[in-house]
């Protein structure tokens, strides 16, 4: 009963699994994971961020960031533009309209939980 849900990446527990309900305020599991939430939040504040900037900002590894960024890309929450700086490939990420909507919805969900407890 008292146990909280732990995400697959083993990051800190966030909300109990039992709260993941269906409906208008259903929790978006895709951005609920801590690193993916970080990517989406960072891109909400900064129009474009490179892979290295995100890595530095979120203090994570290449592999971890790559996996989670790809999941967000597949969901069309972020868009990635591949360019070259000289001979070095560079990935530049930005938040899509559906990614921003997902973050807004997630924020509303968290605020609703806080309000419900008051």
């Amino acid at each position: 009963m008292g146990k909280t849900a732990r995400n697959p990446a083993g990051h800190s527990p966030v909300v109990p699994k039992t709260t993941v309900a269906k409906g208008p305020l259903a929790l978006d599991r895709l951005i609920h994971e801590r690193l993916r939430l970080g990517i989406v939040s960072a891109l909400a504040a900064n129009e474009r961020l490179t892979f290295n900037e995100l890595k530095r900002l979120l203090q994570t590894t290449d592999g971890n960031l790559s996996v989670h960024a790809r999941k967000l890309e597949e969901a069309n929450y972020v868009a990635c533009e591949k360019t070259f700086a000289g001979r070095v490939p560079r990935s530049v990420y930005r938040l899509t309209a559906s990614g921003r909507r997902a973050l807004d919805k997630y924020l509303a969900h968290m605020e609703a939980i806080i309000q419900a407890m008051k």
């Binding site: 939430l37 960072a42 504040a45 129009e47 900002l57 700086a85 968290m110 939980i113």
Partner: protein, 192 residues
Amino acid sequence: MMPRLHEHAAENLQFIRETMARAANFTAVPGLGGVAMGVLALAATIVAGPPRATSAWLGVWLATAGLAAATGFIAILWKARRHHLPIRGPVVRRFALALVPALVVGIVLTAVFVRHGLFAQLPGCWLLCYGAAISSGGAFSVRPVPFMGAAFMVLGALAFVAPTEWGHFFMAVGFGALHISFGIVIARNYGG
């Protein structure tokens, strides 16, 4: 269980807020541009020499300031273009709004000091005002920038208490060496 749910929601909101605040930095601050500005300042120090109450001495530094500002601006545009960074929007606006007031104070004080013949006090005034501008703007930029601003301010304060004939040394150390050394750090660690 319910209080924990509330705590976790608050913790998530806090995480989002902190991540957004960290991400909303002006990262197009030019390291190589800073190096170029430093080289210009060293050249100006050699040409202008110790502070003198002449229009030639003032003219050299004002011309250098204009040239350095243009260099810095072009370097920002170049870096932003190269890294696909925004040069408009709230992040840049916040950086500029933090940077500009102390620069305006510096311009006004320069006019006042010149009017009263306080040429020897100008190095301290310029270093302090520029340092204040960089410190403020640096709060919204990459980590070395506010430290560079603080170093300028320390030099400015020292310039006011040191013998006035040392003014050009402070200018060389501040606008020259500090720009070059922090420029190299920024260029190496923050993409140019």
